[in-house]
């Protein structure tokens, strides 16, 4: 993915952020009891990582941007949050290429995706 592609806006479709195939696969583990744990862990850690990304962009700390987007990317794909995963991949790539001029905009985009994901996550977390 090129830096130019990385800066392109990600299409958001509220209510369908979680990849259903991945969710189905995760539901099959531990008779479905693992999924809420994973999503809970993701919810909390993603918030931390997004905050770190926002701060790092603000201070132009590219290595932190790389490591945090890399980390959030993997976690997102693993629970099926493919949109956030793809945006993190683009941001990681741009940060590695030192082409993150639209970083604040991307950070906002990331926060929006996360915000819209939260209700989906909560739906799995509430009994």
């Amino acid at each position: 993915m090129s830096a130019a592609e990385a800066t392109a806006p990600i299409a958001l479709t509220p209510g369908t952020q979680l990849n259903p195939k991945q969710i189905d696969m995760l539901k099959g583990l531990r008779n479905g009891t693992l999924l809420p744990q994973l999503l809970c862990t993701y919810r909390d850690d993603a918030k931390v990582q997004i905050d770190k990304i926002r701060a790092a962009i603000g201070s132009n700390d590219l290595p932190v941007v790389v490591s945090s987007t890399h980390s959030l990317k993997s976690a997102s794909f693993s629970i099926g949050a493919d949109g956030i995963g793809a945006l993190c991949a683009a941001m990681e790539s741009a940060a590695r290429g030192r082409a993150l001029s639209n970083g604040p905009e991307l950070a906002s985009q990331l926060e929006s995706l996360y915000s819209s994901l939260l209700p989906e996550l909560e739906a799995f977390l509430t009994p």
Partner: protein
């Protein structure tokens, strides 16, 4: 760091390393559910701590982590204890080819895609565990093989197709005294090979390569420390698909130095005499066989010389074993020095005996010399005389100067036989024919053969008879003239020959002495006499005495006192029931030793009789010095009593002398009443001979004794 345990089939411990808690939770849960014990760590540093503390079988690690990344973790783990065995699985991104390559460089066993189904990761881990088990089994198998090879001193090597490098086991390095296996190349192996073995070794390898055959070769190497080892290789040639026709050579290698040395020792012992280190008769026979084959083709002559040192047994008995061995060794060297230049090796030899000659020790004091390709103008007689002259040179043995002589028997090929054994037997036969003549040289003639054969047969039979104990004692009673009481008997040796029946000592004792077997036979006589004396002390009467004969040669060859002590102790005999009969000739050599021995007998209460008195050369001064108890008058004087006056006068004189010296007197060979009356009238104490009784076996002697003593006592009562 957390630790979770599952219960589903899989066993082993997996360390999951990722800074992302979601991934850590996901991977740990899947592995734990499968049954693995799972440890997890947030980064490489934590992982190292856990690895050092716990027994970890597998590490599943992320690449990028704070503090320490996966590459650093893997690199460090590999050099930690247990780090060589642990399986390391990297979780990488979809398109992160760079990380995959780096992971393998850092020691990874495998990689998996981080975003894939976690159940696929589980399968990768299972595969790694299976791979680890196989590796463990292989490692264990290698260890067992290595251990077995070390025990068997068996190593292996493999030569690369280019012929330069060798992959070798540790044992090979040990054998060759090389510390670094990488340093051992084919060229170095050749360089270390003993120069005498190198050409043959290389030729054999080349032949095996050319013919693609298995090979087996042995060669010596000279180690860097200067030692010499013998290596045995057994290997195969393996073709490669290389168009140059290159091959791989694989081989086991064994250090056979000790085995080879042992074989050499055994071979040496089989073909050499232990005293002189000269080749033995077998070696001489084999050399002679080869000489005959060669001479038959070339129409040459071969001479066999059998040589003995005249009167050596008698000399040896006065010198003792160690000195007589040294004399034999010295004579062997002299004989060798008289021969021509060395050329060949007798079987098993390491010296330079030539194919033209061999000097061997046959047995006892007999040597054999074989000379082939007799030079023109050089007669066998000349060689024989040269050998005799070599022996005749004065020999200084410490305080003793010896002047020995040798007699020689000669046989010639092809005149006197065409077989090696025949020629040797004929030379020995000719030698036996010289008996009694010192410094004689006798060529073989047909008429010698039968007598020589007889003697050699007798000698062989005698050796066997002594080994298989075919000897027994018979007993001839001695009667006291004052009251006809039988108070003693002489034991006489008999050989119960398996086909010829009972044989008296006159037929064999001289030969036993000549072939040096008097010591074991004499010891056996002492044993049998002690056993019988112990029995008859109880059976006849407490003071019944049994005499036994001691050969003059026994004084020099064994510790007689110790032998008698041993026999007395063994059978519970009493010294007072034993009497040793010696002859005057015992005094001719080593009189001091004889007197010391006889004094030791006397101290124990064992009586001493001088046998065959009057036939030897002993002086009266010796008679005074000897601790004698009994004088036995030889049968030749007794038999002439009543025949001529001088014999009677001589016997009378001997009896008077015995009285004067305080000795008891016994007349041997008494066969007639007139002899008995004369001896009685002249105060002879005891008589022995056919008139009283002939020599008898044990049971007959006991019956005779009972009858005799019964009749005597009855007559006294009457």
């Amino acid at each position: 760091m957390t630790d979770s345990r599952g219960t589903k089939g899989c066993t082993g411990t997996v360390l999951v390393v990722d800074d992302d808690p979601t991934i850590r939770l996901l991977v740990s849960s899947v592995l734990s559910d499968a049954g693995y014990t799972v440890l997890d760590a947030n980064n490489g540093s934590e992982a190292l701590e856990l690895f050092a503390e716990k027994d970890v079988d597998c590490i599943v690690t992320d690449v990028n982590m704070p503090k320490m990344n996966g590459f650093e973790l893997s690199t460090i783990v590999r050099v930690m204890p247990g780090g060589g065995r642990v399986q390391i699985l990297f979780m990488t991104g979809n398109d992160d080819y760079d990380s995959i390559q780096k992971a393998f460089d850092a020691g990874a066993n495998d990689f998996t895609l981080k975003h894939s189904n976690p159940l696929l990761l589980l399968e990768r881990v299972r595969f790694l565990f299976k791979s680890q088990r196989i590796q463990d089994e292989l490692r264990l198998s290698d260890q067992r093989l290595s251990y077995a090879q070390r025990l068997a001193l068996l190593g292996h090597w493999e030569r690369s197709p280019d012929g330069k490098t060798l992959a070798v086991s540790d044992v090979v390095c040990q054998m060759m005294g090389i510390d670094d296996p990488e340093a051992l190349t084919w060229d170095l192996l050749c360089e270390m090979t003993h120069p005498d073995d190198l050409t043959a070794m290389q030729a054999m390898m080349q032949r095996a390569i050319t013919q693609r055959t298995n090979f087996r070769l042995e060669h010596r190497i000279v180690t860097r420390r200067g030692g010499q080892r013998t290596l045995r290789h057994q290997g195969e040639i393996v073709s490669t698909n290389n168009i140059n026709g290159d091959v791989i050579i694989r081989s086991t290698v064994q250090d056979v130095t000790d085995a080879r040395a042992q074989e050499d020792r055994i071979r040496f012992m089989a073909f050499h005499d232990p005293v002189t280190a000269l080749p033995n008769r077998e070696a001489a026979t084999q050399t002679l066989k080869r000489a005959i084959d060669r001479s038959a083709e070339r129409h040459e002559h071969v001479a066999v010389f059998a040589l003995w040192l005249d009167d050596f047994n008698r000399i040896a008995s006065s010198l003792g074993q160690a000195v007589s061995d040294a004399v034999l060794k010295s004579m062997g060297n002299r004989l060798r020095s008289q021969m021509r230049n060395p050329e060949s090796h007798p079987p098993g030899s390491t010296d330079n005996d030539s194919p033209n000659f061999i000097v061997a020790r046959a047995d006892g004091d007999k040597f054999l010399c074989v000379v082939s390709n007799l030079a023109a103008g050089e007669s066998a007689l000349t060689i024989a005389n040269r050998l005799q002259e070599a022996v005749a040179s004065p020999l200084n043995m410490g305080d003793t100067n010896l002047q020995l002589s040798a007699s020689v028997g000669v046989s010639l090929y092809p005149e006197d036989g065409s077989a090696a054994n025949t020629l040797i037997d004929n030379a020995l036969g000719a030698l036996l024919h010289t008996k009694g003549q010192k410094g004689a040289c006798q060529f073989f003639a047909d008429e010698i053969s039968s007598r020589a054969k007889q003697r050699m047969t007798l000698e062989t039979e005698l050796r066997h008879a002594i080994e298989s104990n075919q000897f027994e004692l018979h007993y001839q009673p001695r009667m006291r003239l004052t009251d006809n009481a039988v108070l003693s008997a002489e034991s006489l040796l008999r050989w119960r020959h398996p086909t010829r029946g009972l044989i008296g000592p006159g037929e064999f004792i001289q030969l036993v002495e000549e072939i040096g077997l008097i010591a074991p036979l004499g010891n056996r006589v002492i044993e049998m006499a002690a056993m019988q004396a112990a029995h008859w002390r109880r059976r006849f009467n407490q003071s019944f005495r049994l005499s036994f004969n001691i050969s003059p040669l026994q004084f020099g060859s064994v510790d007689l006192v110790a032998e008698i002590d041993k026999a007395v102790a063994l059978y519970g005999a009493h010294y007072a029931n034993l009497e040793a009969e010696i002859t005057e000739s015992a005094l001719m050599s080593r009189p001091d030793t004889v007197i010391t021995t006889l004094n030791a007998f006397r101290e124990r209460g064992l009586r001493i009789a001088l046998d065959d008195f009057g036939t030897g050369f002993s002086s009266l001064s010796y008679l005074r010095r000897l601790p004698l108890d009994v004088l036995k008058i030889d049968r030749t004087f007794v038999s002439d009593i009543g025949v001529n006056q001088s014999a009677a006068a001589l016997v009378n004189s001997i009896l008077s002398m015995a009285h004067a010296l305080g000795l008891s007197s016994v007349a041997e060979g008494v066969e007639q009443e007139t002899q008995l009356h004369f001896l009685s009238a002249n105060h002879c104490h005891e008589v022995q001979g056919y008139l009283v009784a002939k020599p008898m076996a044990t049971a007959d002697m006991e019956d005779w004794y009972d009858n005799w003593e019964g009749a005597r006592l009855n007559s006294q009562i009457a």
